[in-house]
């Protein structure tokens, strides 16, 4: 029924998808989180919106074909169903900076299982505190305490997407599902922002808020699916890739605060081979 595919997002700048300044009366703008692991996500709608807008910019005339035709006033049955479906992006690995230890990319079984399902990799058990890479000590500090590095799991190498930069530079570590949210919160990028007076470097009264974002170097994944049968016959993955003009990878911007450098990412798409 569907041709399956997935995307890998590597953040090249802090990424904020969540409440923006105008929408909250408070002054801490949080990112959206997945309700089970409490880790950051990009909703499917945001991904779809960006993909659609980018395709529109490429002017291939294929936007309506892929994303569905909007209703034409006074014309019956003028809408069509989209051929491409998006789901939310979740974290595969999040880099955690903590003073006095190397930067570590962290994940948990729940997040890796989603990645495994999306990519159709063989089933695997993810054991907390297993790691892959060169370790410099047997424990690491995260803000909930000290965690042990137990067994090296060489198979984890297959769970580090191939296209990301500095793929083997960082140690990767699995923690418990119950621990990931705290470690994730420690890893988030936070910035206090303040508006200054137009003529002097002095804060405007009340113009002060905080924003949080996923840090640079976060690896995320999202599934997408193509309907197999479109109105004009068989839908082909290659055709989508062609119309979207994505070759190996593509710089894309997600979320808010784009004009001040948030949201820049590198996206790669892959078709899933059916077994």
């Amino acid at each position: 029924m569907y041709q399956k595919a997935y995307g890998i997002i590597e953040t090249l700048a802090p990424l904020h998808v969540g409440a923006s300044a105008g929408e909250e009366s408070g002054n801490l703008n949080l990112i959206f989180r997945d309700q089970f692991t409490q880790t950051g996500i990009i909703p499917g709608s945001s991904i779809r919106g960006r993909f659609r807008a980018d395709m529109r910019q490429e002017k291939t005339g294929q936007v309506d074909n892929w994303y569905g035709q909007e209703a034409i006033p006074n014309e019956k049955d003028s809408t069509t169903e989209a051929l491409v479906k998006f789901e939310y992006a979740s974290i595969v690995w999040i880099p955690v900076y903590c003073p006095n230890q190397p930067v570590v990319r962290v994940s948990c079984p729940a997040l890796l299982r989603r990645y495994q399902k999306i990519t159709n990799k063989p089933m695997k058990e993810f054991k907390p505190y297993s790691y892959y890479g060169k370790k410099t000590s047997s424990t690491l500090f995260f803000n909930l305490g000290f965690l042990p590095l137990k067994k090296e799991d060489k198979e984890l190498k297959d769970y580090i997407p191939e296209e990301i930069s500095n793929r083997n530079e960082y140690l990767v570590l699995i923690v418990n599902d119950s621990e990931i949210s705290m470690i994730h919160d420690m890893a988030l990028y936070r910035q206090s922002r303040v508006a200054l007076e137009a003529n002097q470097k002095k804060a405007k009264t009340g113009a002060f808020f905080d924003v949080e974002a996923l840090p640079e170097g976060t690896i995320m994944t999202f599934p997408l699916a193509l309907k197999k049968d479109g109105q004009d016959g068989l839908v082909q993955w290659n055709k989508f890739v062609q119309d979207f003009k994505i070759s190996a990878n593509k710089d894309m911007y997600f979320g808010g605060l784009e004009s001040i450098g948030f949201g820049r990412t590198k996206v790669t798409l892959h078709a899933v081979e059916e077994k």
Binding site: P99, N176, A198, S259
Partner: protein, 574 residues
């Protein structure tokens, strides 16, 4: 514990016998979290209390050193483990980059810690977020010399509430060793690693001018002579020419300095191109005892100019009126308090003129330098402020020096004294040919100081009021200070400071017998002002001071001065 175990065993047995339920011994839960030693917790995650982490405890900076080292996470070369490498500049894959080398420090603050520090980004590397750069760029809209065409484009680039911005200000990041690692070998010690990003803020006006107040040496983090790469991208593809124009505009915007403390010269990368923007300029030569950072690392710090001028304005105005509030309001207007001051200052070290060294048996760190000091008053850009600051600048130059140990003449030049370096020596020329500094004899000095006293009163709109702030130690009023001077070929008074009876008089030497380092601020200024024919006007300024600090030596000290034929140049006889 034994009883509990026994109780559980018997409960198990009962369950088995009566209900036929088998209870298995459970495996102990695997400990995922190791009991930490509190000492292993990184300093950045510790409470700022004494005994845990106190970054601002000046006497013992072990906590600060450890905090810094943990942050840097040094590699084998003791440089930061994580650094940015130089990327391809200009347009590359949709991102436009250019780099800027800063001649001195750049300070930015994330507003999130107990110590002023920049935003920490990927892998712990500090950087400047795009928001600050965009803000600075947008400010160009306020500039008078930006064409209307450019203003429209800038507005487009930055966006409005209804229209999204077309430019993306990605960020500015430092290349290479952002902590500025330096290896030093202190005297009688092994080689040590110092990180020059650890900066110092050292307010001492209260102590020096008003009397009282405790010296503080506040640590902060600033980039030291960084090279930053600025990154931009755009929603719509732009041609190279347009990018180059944007770079030009952004460079112009950056001329006003990025980050904080710009009035001190932080964050400025370029000598003011348009000299008219700075109505005052002074070409200065200097040597003296070097200021030190918190870790005793010497550094020539251009912010010494602002500190010296601020102190002098307080002294001078404190002698012109007895209204403390009036003085403080004026001083804060010019130099800033909770809001920025109107004075802008830029010190341009001329190429290859700064040298650092040591002097004497104690290896006192010293500097030699040459450069141009530019001054401007941005707000209320009226001539009154400029004219006043010109006079204050002359006063600072004539009467003492700038920076550390400015109350004393430079010992290596004026006395055979090999223990340590003391003092500083400044000479130079006024950039404005129509206003030369004509002080060549005591009469001209009297004239200058009388004129200055009147200028101060006029500046405060006061007519011949003889009141002054008499509980400040250095109010500049004839009742509070005496100035002696004489034309000499070499110093005739410097030896006085080294006579036993004066050396240990707190009002002169600044210390009691037995003190290793000066404990008090001296009530005496000593200057060898270079004048024509390779001579000097030797000037000794003596403040009334506290009787106790003088130890009954004031009359003796003045007697020694007059016996060497120094005349009273300014101030009342008694």
């Amino acid at each position: 514990m034994g009883t509990l175990q026994q109780g559980l065993q018997s409960l198990k047995q009962d369950l088995k016998n009566e209900l036929n339920i088998e209870v298995k011994d459970t495996q102990p839960v695997e400990e995922s979290i190791i009991m930490p030693s509190p000492e292993q917790v990184p300093m950045m995650y510790r409470a700022q209390v004494s005994g845990r982490c106190s970054l601002q405890y000046g006497k013992n900076q072990k906590d600060l050193d450890r905090w810094t080292e943990e942050w840097v996470y040094p590699n084998k070369k003791d440089e930061p483990s994580y650094q940015f490498k130089k990327p391809q500049l200009a347009l590359d894959d949709g991102v436009y980059r250019f780099e800027i080398e800063f001649p001195w420090r750049v300070f930015s603050n994330c507003g999130q810690d107990s110590i002023f520090r920049p935003v920490i980004g990927k892998d712990g590397i500090p950087f400047i977020p795009g928001s600050g750069i965009k803000g600075l760029f947008r400010r160009l809209l306020e500039w008078a010399d930006i064409s209307d065409d450019d203003k429209r484009t800038i507005q487009n680039y930055c966006g409005t509430a209804d229209k999204p911005a077309t430019l993306r200000f990605l960020r500015a990041y430092p290349l290479g060793d952002w902590a500025q690692t330096k290896r030093v070998t202190p005297r009688n010690k092994n080689e040590e690693i110092r990180y020059q990003m650890v900066d110092i803020c050292h307010p001492q006006q209260k102590k020096q001018v008003e009397g009282g107040g405790r010296p503080q040496a506040i640590a902060l983090i600033s980039f030291y002579k960084p090279t930053f790469v600025f990154e931009l991208s755009s929603i719509k593809p732009l041609g190279l020419t347009e990018w180059q124009h944007i770079e030009q505009l952004l460079r112009k915007a950056l001329n006003q300095g990025i980050g904080g403390k710009t009035s001190n010269g932080y964050g400025l990368y370029n000598a003011p191109q348009d000299k008219n923007l700075y109505p005052l300029a002074f070409h200065l030569f200097a040597k003296g005892v070097s200021p030190l950072l918190r870790n005793d690392e010497p550094e020539f710090r251009p912010n010494l100019f602002k500190a010296t001028l601020r102190g002098h304005v307080s002294r001078l105005l404190g002698g012109a009126t007895n209204n403390v509030d009036t003085v403080k309001i004026k001083v804060n207007q010019l130099f800033g308090d909770n809001s920025p001051g109107s004075l802008q200052l830029y010190w341009e070290t001329l190429p290859e003129f700064l040298t650092m060294g040591t002097y004497g048996r104690e290896n006192t760190p010293i500097y030699e330098n040459q450069g141009i000091l530019y001054l401007d008053v941005k707000k209320n850009n009226n001539n009154q402020d400029i004219a006043f600051l010109q006079k204050v600048m002359e006063f600072a130059f004539i009467m003492g020096g700038f920076g550390k140990s400015w109350r004393r003449v430079y010992h290596p030049d004026f006395m055979n004294y090999n223990t340590r370096a003391i003092g500083c020596h400044w000479w130079g020329s006024w950039q404005k040919p129509d206003q030369p500094l004509n002080i060549n004899n005591p009469q001209q000095l009297t004239q200058f100081l009388n004129g200055l006293f009147n200028t101060c009163q006029q500046y405060l709109n006061i007519n011949n009021n003889q009141q002054y702030i008499n509980n400040w130690r250095e109010s500049w009023h004839p009742q509070n200070v005496k100035v002696f001077s004489k034309v000499v070929a070499k110093s005739e008074l410097i030896t006085l400071f080294h006579e036993d009876k004066f050396k240990y008089t707190p009002a002169i030497g600044g210390k009691n017998r037995g003190d290793k380092r000066p404990k008090y601020v001296s009530c005496v200024w000593h200057r060898m002002l270079p004048i024509e024919n390779n001579q000097y006007l030797e000037i000794m300024t003596v403040f009334r001071g506290d009787n106790q600090l003088w130890n009954g030596q004031k009359a003796n000290f003045e007697k020694e001065i007059t016996e060497r034929n120094f005349g009273l140049t300014w101030g009342n006889k008694n």
